[in-house]
Point group: C2
Chain length 279, copies 2
Amino acid sequence: MSEFEDALTLRDGEFPGSYAVDISAGWTIGGGINGGLLLATMAKAMSDALGGRGHTEPLAVSAYYLSPTRPGLAMVETDIARQGGSSSTGSAALVQYADDGRREERIRAMGSFTDLSRLPTEATTRLTPPDLPPVEQCVSKDDAPAGSPVPDAPLLERTDVRFDPASAGWAMGQPSGRGLIQAYFRLADGQEPDPFVLLFACDALPPVSMDLGRYGWAPTIEFTVNVVARPAPGWLRIKHYTEHTAAGHFVEDCQVWDSEDTLVAQSRQLARMPREPKA
Amino acid sequence: MSEFEDALTLRDGEFPGSYAVDISAGWTIGGGINGGLLLATMAKAMSDALGGRGHTEPLAVSAYYLSPTRPGLAMVETDIARQGGSSSTGSAALVQYADDGRREERIRAMGSFTDLSRLPTEATTRLTPPDLPPVEQCVSKDDAPAGSPVPDAPLLERTDVRFDPASAGWAMGQPSGRGLIQAYFRLADGQEPDPFVLLFACDALPPVSMDLGRYGWAPTIEFTVNVVARPAPGWLRIKHYTEHTAAGHFVEDCQVWDSEDTLVAQSRQLARMPREPKA
């Protein structure tokens, strides 16, 4: 079983629709567990709770982040909203318990699930895949110079990210100010992408605020991913960018393209702009 | 009291955090009540439930649409997820009851609320306001020719929308195929915009699928609005567009700009592409 599948392995909880999951410290980045990995975990729980009609694949998933998730046991409490003909919709809360027994809700999410194989495959787009050099000309975290602002985090051992050198100045302490980070992405242990991996991939690159010269923690308020196709095997290409910063927040967009030049997922998150220029 | 304020007027429900609201048929369009008006109504309920810390204005609101809302009584059941220092987050369900007493959930939503006056006002953007001719050179529903595919709906009496002639071919049965509709927008009774009006404005224009030549009903799966500034009084300008259609759905983006050229709200929805070319 891959590390990613292991992370999404649920046990039945105490009540119908509740699940227990062990959150591994291996997915830690910045101040807590990666938000995309947790979104995928919650989506897996909603998929399981809703899946009776074959609606097991995420079509749209949204989450509001309430407090940092810690490694260890978590409960995902799901609730079915509607089971329809072509999609089913539910919600979920990811909950942990403090040492004193207090219930702490970490994330609240909703999602619609479908059977992508039963939807039309035709697509029309005005968007173009990120213009990246061949993967062997891109740079990985191992290429970062000493003293680089790239964080050293367990998550980076589980992902294989190759950054476009033309948008990697932020990793050398020279952010471009454009708010653009592009990269190839795959899971380090070789698991091929699927719709749940796409939920993670949309949040797997560093926040684009780093390319604006803000290296601090950028907590997510809201994050929505649309999965619009099953990904082909191979490298994913990710375009992560912001077009708008306002009210102390930034709107971060992400496109994920597969190895056959198909746009397979799009996401947007509203995140709080780090207050300090440097971490 | 304006028609919009009247629509958002809540009475206390039977339980703490639950509200009763009368849904007027005046907000009907297509197959039901406008989804943006209902999002604003649910946001008002969440704002009221969460508002103890002055976090009364929507910052991000997301909704999943489950079944068409009918005119008449509805209940909005809210739940507080977190009351924080700079924002508070909750969720809500909009519920109606069938003639046989069966509970029917119409919409499930989440949202984060803040005090926009306490957030930084600086903004940087790569986006530009829609390029519209002066409002008196734009066209209203009253200019639509006989036999126009523009629907005749009560909602259109409550909004004053002036379409850019350059992106209004769809209203004459000549869709451009670009998936772009731009317009000036205000409430017909003169109420000035506020953050709740922005939630409505993001869903107040016809679906851009009409400009793709698909005039049928385009049910929304998921809809998220980010409010990034309080709007100045006067006309709003709306750019409503799609860049991607796949898996039988389309991703619809919306930008709302105020009279001072500030981007005040951005939204995205995933909607099902109408199957028939003509309604």
